[in-house]
């Protein structure tokens, strides 16, 4: 492993390189490298600005506002926060997941499948396919969706339409494109109309077909250069996520399963309401972001990964046929029935298997008459604490609230997926720095390798806030005295400016 590169022995004697993608005002990542006189990497760190203010934003508000309010925490996966909050406030009105009406449960699942499908489609086709199709160190002018549309128009257009379809599922279920109010305490506030159902049914077969093609594409890319794809940024790890009682892949509700790097089960069907017994968060002095770990294993080795790779690794089966066939293929791609797939770039492959699963699941749900039922809300006895956990596109998402007698939130705790992947992303950055950058003159294409490693995790680096004119990336090379030697700036429009001192 590469822990030795977390902290250098003599940082004052080293050159400092900062890769600072300040893509938006909050929620941005920064990589710092310390190099010796021969450009050998002695320290590599990924800093992600913690989503500070989440809890403060929520505290003091009446609980019933939360499903709408929390969507504004993040413009990337608002539905994930919406549903995690809804599951938590279900408990505040005395409703456990098993007690939701069948219609409410299925509408929420449909909403969630739409969200995961559109989020994964955006990530693969827009953010990652340029790297995968053109190469990590290819001309920067090619590494964008427009180039994909130009050279692979079918693939590019499918990405656009997959994304659009997921957004339409969200709009039909929640009533609006953004800030929808689909889920409420104890259920949902509207059923799907027959027209809405039929509208979504029109295209679902095409969506499934495109999803099958996308899985085939990512498999082709991955296996075409198998040793590289299996080694790049790869860090054997533990994995954590929800599974169904049967052990099948689950995105909306289930028990927590964690496996170690060899595939041995650490915990299974663990009640997420007891998550504080399972997970602790370590603080390190050089970053605001915490480092969660499994309490039973300890800080040093208890870190884990969440998200598509974790989910596909952890589950025993996927309960839709095409995605299950893709999962089996994925797990056996190295031959001999590998127990766990640790390749960081395999996140992409696993992500598209989930896209296919979402598309198939949407088809199943759209043909379920329960979706049209007006039986949407149940109520129980008030409670003072609620915990909601779902599998967001990027991984397991925890919402935990306490309320007072007046139903005002007095305490909130959120663990977002990107936080759970913090140690793993740092390990991947250190692996890439050590294996691919160390000793070489740093250039933009070379540094893109660091971003490729980070991007595989699909971290929530840019979030809801944005404004025209912000600078998304700055790289500075300083000497041991802190004097600027070189600067590379990527402006908001993507143009590069190189300025030597």
């Amino acid at each position: 492993m590469y822990e030795h590169l977390e902290t250098a022995e003599n940082p004052a004697d080293l050159k400092r390189v900062v890769v600072d993608p300040v893509s938006r005002v909050e929620g941005h990542g920064k990589v710092t490298l310390l190099l010796d006189e021969n450009n050998r990497v002695k320290q590599a760190r990924l800093h992600i600005v913690e989503f500070r203010g989440f809890e403060k934003f929520i505290q003091g508000r009446p609980y019933w506002e939360l499903p709408v309010l929390v969507q504004r925490l993040c413009g990337i996966c608002p539905v994930s926060h919406h549903l995690a909050a809804a599951k938590a406030i279900d408990q505040l009105v005395g409703v456990d997941p098993a007690n939701l009406t069948s219609a409410a449960d299925k509408l929420r699942r449909l909403l969630h499948f739409g969200q995961v499908l559109q989020s994964h489609a955006l990530h693969f086709f827009h953010l990652s396919s340029p790297d995968l199709l053109f190469g990590f160190e290819s001309d920067i002018g090619k590494r964008n969706i427009v180039a994909v549309l130009a050279e692979h128009p079918d693939i590019g257009l499918q990405g656009v339409k997959l994304r659009k379809y997921g957004q339409e599922v969200i709009r039909m279920v929640s009533g609006k494109r953004v800030h929808g109010t689909g889920a409420i305490a104890g259920g949902m506030n509207k059923a799907l109309s027959r027209d809405e159902r039929d509208y979504l049914l029109q295209d679902i077969d095409q969506i499934i077909a495109w999803s099958v093609a996308a899985v085939a594409l990512v498999k082709k890319v991955h296996t075409a250069n198998l040793p590289y794809y299996d080694e790049f940024a790869t860090v054997p790890s533990n994995y954590l996520g929800l599974v169904k009682p049967s052990g099948a892949l689950e995105l909306y509700h289930g028990g927590i399963r964690a496996k170690d790097r060899n595939g041995a089960t650490l915990v299974d069907h663990f009640d997420y309401c007891q998550y504080t017994d399972l997970i602790r968060e370590e603080v390190r002095s050089w970053t605001y972001m915490k480092f969660p770990y499994l309490t039973s294993i300890g800080q040093a080795d208890g870190w884990y990964r969440v998200g598509p790779l974790a989910r596909v690794n952890n589950c025993d089966v996927i309960d839709t046929s095409l995605a299950e066939a893709a999962r089996v293929d994925f797990k056996q791609h190295r031959g001999g029935g590998a127990v766990m797939v640790h390749s960081t770039l395999a996140f992409h492959w696993a992500r598209l298997i989930e896209v296919l699963h979402c598309a198939e699941s949407i088809a199943v749900l759209l043909n379920d008459p329960d979706l049209l039922s007006p039986d949407l809300v149940v109520k129980g006895e008030k409670r003072y604490e609620g915990i909601g956990v779902i599998e967001a596109p990027r991984g397991t998402l925890f919402h935990h609230y306490q309320v007072d007698d007046d139903d005002i939130v007095i305490k909130a705790n959120l663990i977002v997926s990107t936080t759970s992947n913090n140690t793993a992303m740092n390990e991947s950055v250190r692996q890439v720095a050590a294996e691919y950058l160390s000793g070489r003159e740093l250039t933009e294409p070379l540094l893109n390798n660091l971003e490729v490693a980070i991007r595989a995790y699909d971290p929530c680096l840019s979030c809801a806030t944005h404004a025209v004119g912000k600078m998304p990336l700055q790289l500075e090379l300083l000497d041991a005295d802190g004097q600027l030697l070189d600067r590379l700036v990527r402006h908001g429009d993507g143009a590069f400016e190189h300025a030597r001192s």
């Binding site: 934003f57 549309l149 990405g159 998304p472 990527r490 993507g494």
Partner: protein, 156 residues
Amino acid sequence: MTRPVLVFACGNPSRGDDAVGPLLLDYLASRVDLSETELLTDFQLQIEHALDLQHRKLVLFVDASVSCRAAFSLTELRPVRDNSYTSHAMSPSALLQVYQSIHETPPPPSFLLSIRAEQFELGAPLSGNTLDNLIQASVFAERLLAQFEPCPDSVD
């Protein structure tokens, strides 16, 4: 039938001055002919929004801007092959380029109304200066849209 004018505002209503775009839409909602104009908002622009531009005669994007020197500014947009790809948000010009790539035709006439903004903290209200800028930009946008007269036989 697709309405000929699209006003697309980007921004998060709960992040201080980032709310100016959605707030401008709230203002326009009661002051423009909604049979001719569609008002859409989202946190940020993304690839699928290229499909929202189809069959339009005029598109006006509205966004907060920290680099805008005046209270607001109006800029005509052209498709740009934007090299930025690490962000979950696209620039309006990059979106036009995506439109052009998908449809193989030039995008509709498109403009960006930038409103000067200062702070974007989660949970923060609109700042005083930005509120003044928003009022000026809203009045301007209303007048601008009032001047638009689509050709009756040219609307899909």
